[in-house]
Subunit: 135 residues, 6 copies
């Protein structure tokens, strides 16, 4: 019996979408208002899904306390109340939510060992969300 557990977290951050290898004009065409020089911000909701067998004794896929400790320590504390453009992860990569999704999946997938990381989903706004599953 394999089940899935999804846990919801969130952080607030600012970013500016700007690609240094593209012309100013093409940056505006590509990112619109998201290219504004002073940046803007979002409340990012992060849903982490893990998958695995249900332990026959504890009845759990993994301990939520372990997942919370890991996600808070490696993701939320790192990105909360930051300007994403100033972080080393995004020094050469544009901080789109697609790239943020991949970055967070890789952090979790590389370090969390109590269950398999199946998916990271980020709601950038109430109208947009992004998912990455490591494919």
């Amino acid at each position: 019996m394999r089940a899935h557990l999804t846990r919801r977290y969130w952080f607030s951050a600012s970013h500016r979408l700007h690609c240094s290898t593209m012309s100013p004009k093409r940056n505006v065409q590509t990112y619109g208002k998201c290219n504004n020089i002073h940046g803007h911000g979002h409340d990012y909701f992060i849903e982490v899904t893990v998958v695995g067998p249900v332990n026959s004794e504890t009845g759990m896929i993994c301990n939520l306390a372990d997942l919370d400790t890991f996600v808070n320590g490696t993701v939320i504390e790192r990105f909360d109340h930051e300007n994403l453009n100033m972080l080393p992860e995004f020094s050469e990569v544009v901080p789109t939510t697609e790239n943020l999704c991949v970055e967070i999946f890789n952090i979790l997938n590389g370090g969390f060992h109590h269950a398999a990381i199946e998916k990271v989903r980020i709601e950038e706004t109430s109208q947009n969300s992004f998912e990455y599953t490591g494919e």
Copy 2:
């Protein structure tokens, strides 16, 4: 790296569930109050999911502005504030949300070329939703 982008839209419409090849009695058995002669309505929330590689330069699967322009032009403007039963798409097909889902998937899949359409999900009410993936 392939990621998924889901964008949320909505429109208001009315419909009546009635199948012309079934008897009045069987229509009532099948559709209940949804068969009421004067129709009723919903706020339909449409979630369109596209899938594709994350462009290494722009950091995006596709440009949201392109997706919005296409969905608004071909779906939202077509169905918003309409009685679905009066539209040619539903002259011979009952406007259930299952059929609306298939119809919208086919419109998008046939015409949007910036990323692959993976799924159309419609919330008919806060208790019901439907998905179609082209299978």
Copy 3:
């Protein structure tokens, strides 16, 4: 000790906004797409707030079962899966949500006697809501 209880209900209905004493042109100016001849629809969420002393024995303002029975019998069954324009209440009054709010407040205020009706709030869509308190 006076407290407030708010209970949430919903129904689906269709309507067309059209005022018979105004010209076709002014109807369009006033109601826009909501004036479309075939109508459209909404899922209306109704929040009924009652106010009163907390009974020192039962610990309740009024019995939820009594409120549900009354609201379901006089409001939800009356409006659910109907075209509002076809109902006698709206034969001479335009079925805007403002007017629907007043109509529902008056039904409840006139007939429910287990606690005072303080407010009726209707969410027409996720972006709009209306309130009436009997002023």
Copy 4:
């Protein structure tokens, strides 16, 4: 054409997470506050997804009235306003939401024959959800 229908239900229940084969100390380490002796409770939101071909005449995967009757009769009435630990299903199995998910999936999968049960998803709180697909 195969489509998916998801229907949302809910019930309120209490539970205590405690495994009789584990020491008191390990119970606290595993379940934290959820091991409190007097129990606590949740509003469980249950989403049932069925999958199947869209009937070419009715335009439906299955009749919602049939699904509601079955789920209400076999699941909601069974668990609503109960202490899960007192039920025979959980006399030897810890009533975690993982195990509740598997239990509900098996009830529906074993008895509902109008469409295939694809997934049961339970929101335990607004921060946690669990899914089981019969794998």
Copy 5:
């Protein structure tokens, strides 16, 4: 300039609605399934509203950190993952959400001095909420 700040908290608890001065029959008539002997539970969402002048220097009504510290220390830690019926506050008072609302308002109003407590609102379920303002 007086403004209002509302902050949202939540806890999970179980309760049983039972009034010791009423007969078993009247308890069932009054509380229905909520009178079940083994209890049931909810996720209670608590919204605390404070009101006061906006400090011309800090731009704040009061410091959120102060409010969080006080509410978490006096309310959330007290009620979270508890059976409300076992607490001294509810030894002689039925733990309805009306009474819980009054209890929490009084705790906050009596002890928090950085801004005036204007209202406590509790969502018992997604369909019900209660408010108390100290009237």
Copy 6:
């Protein structure tokens, strides 16, 4: 008959909470992580409530199209995708959500004449909201 209409808008912006007349140490004590030098951001949901008599002919308090045009032109276009600290409104006032609420109320109250502005409510995050009514 006076009714109330609430309309929901939103914009994304970044800000940094920092008061130039306070010491660095007191800024950190007051604003915590919100004082981080690079700023952070939010999706601000703005609810504007107007109040007035229901027009007996149109059935409306005011025309939503008029309200949308005014709010979008004077508020949303002004603040969306901006760093609030760079705007003249916040050159000498800290861009807390309390102050943003007052600022938006004053813009609307001073210029919108189709109905009275009763209240501006801003959700800064899913846990916090602020209201100002012009008191």
